[in-house]
Symmetry: C2
Subunit: 210 residues, 2 copies
DNA sequence: CGGCATCCTAAGCAAGCGCTTAGTCAGTTC
DNA sequence: GAACTGACTAAGCGCTTGCTTAGGATGCCG
């Protein structure tokens, strides 16, 4: 598949994932912005660049968004809510600690591969947010932390996990999965679910009692 | 310790680590640049900002560097060479696979905590490099990949490691350690060597035959 | 002292930035 | 068909950007 076709696929995928963003031109702008931010970074992206991607004039952006920072803020909010939903769904799928950890880490890693474009933006462009928006997003990230920690504690209580440092190990696990978005390329050999399977396995090895 | 004192400490530490950058004003500029790039990102940093940090006029930067990109390029080169030296020294310290993996991952994770400021720049600002400079740096990063992979292969050959996917596990291990630079704060509870110890332990658990 | 090299600044240029303003135009409503 | 609405553009404003130019200060060497 050539890159143009892959781009179309990604736009279609994000259009489906973000179907609740309306009206359609606002959604198209949001998708254009997330792609531009992911490729060049927030500060290297111009509002003209975003507008051009959807075939609008530079002023068209401001019909739907107050500022460039609002675009980033919306992307971060939607992205974090989206991934938190995925995390919670994964955690609820099983009560067995090992399977739960597999689901949580596997799904979260696969999510970061599949949605590597928004994932890059919401992990590596946070510093461009205004302080109060950053605080809001940090709270969402903290919830992810708590969820992973709870999974580990659950396994320790049942005696199937041996985790001397739960906060540290939780941090490492989240860090590992989040960083998938940095190095993942669609053109690479591994599919998102392959990465999920590998990471789920590594996570279980890290904590399982031997 | 207040942040101003911590800043002074960091400047002193980087001044020692980069003592071979001369003359002194060029080194001071490089340190100011790496701090600014780490705090706000390459594109959000202005050359005026860098100059002001060392008490120079905006034009002072161009006495020592051709462009803002040259500053980033030098930082990336020095940073990668520095960390490669640390990695190789760690790998050479022992021939026992488990101890070697402990040394490699532990030291590399601790390096990313101690030098989180340059580490952030050389991992997350690479896209701002000109293409030929990016190619050069990518080659250095590939060497780290090979080193970690060789450590894993060494352990598998001796039967002490069980690694179904060596490239994938090597990638995950490097990813895990590199990402320390993203979340590490000097004000946090863990010292660099604590993070190194935790990560060395997690790495061994990930690959050890059971 | 003069000659020279090093290091730096004052001033500013051309280009590009985020965002605004005033107005156009298609579609809907009555 | 007149009145209104929402989506969009042409033009451009005020400011900042990376970088240049011309020249000044300082210290070293004979």
């Amino acid at each position: 598949m050539n890159t143009a076709a892959a781009d179309l696929d990604e736009v279609a995928m994000l259009d489906r994932a973000w179907h609740d963003v309306s009206p359609a031109p606002a959604r198209r702008l949001l998708i254009a912005a997330v792609q531009a931010f992911a490729e060049r970074g927030y500060h290297a992206t111009t509002t003209r660049d975003i507008a051009t991607r959807v075939g609008m004039s530079p002023a068209g952006v401001y019909v739907h968004y107050r500022s460039k920072e609002e675009l980033l803020h919306r992307i971060c909010l939607i992205g974090h809510r989206h991934s938190l939903v995925a995390l919670r769904a994964a955690a609820a799928r099983s009560t067995d600690p090992e399977q739960q950890l597999r689901d949580v880490i596997g799904d979260f890693a696969a999510w970061h591969a599949l949605f590597h474009t928004p994932a890059r933006v919401i992990s590596y462009e946070l510093t461009a947010l205004e302080p109060e928006h950053l605080t809001e997003i940090t709270a969402l990230r903290h919830e992810m932390d708590l969820l992973v920690r709870a999974t580990l504690e659950h396994g320790v209580e049942q005696g199937v996990f041996d985790v001397p440092d739960i906060p540290g190990t939780g941090l490492a696990l989240l860090s590992l999965t989040v960083d998938v978005a940095r190095w993942y390329r669609t053109s690479g050999r591994r599919a998102p679910e392959d990465i999920g399977a590998l990471y789920a396995d590594l996570a279980v090895r890290m904590v399982k009692t031997r």
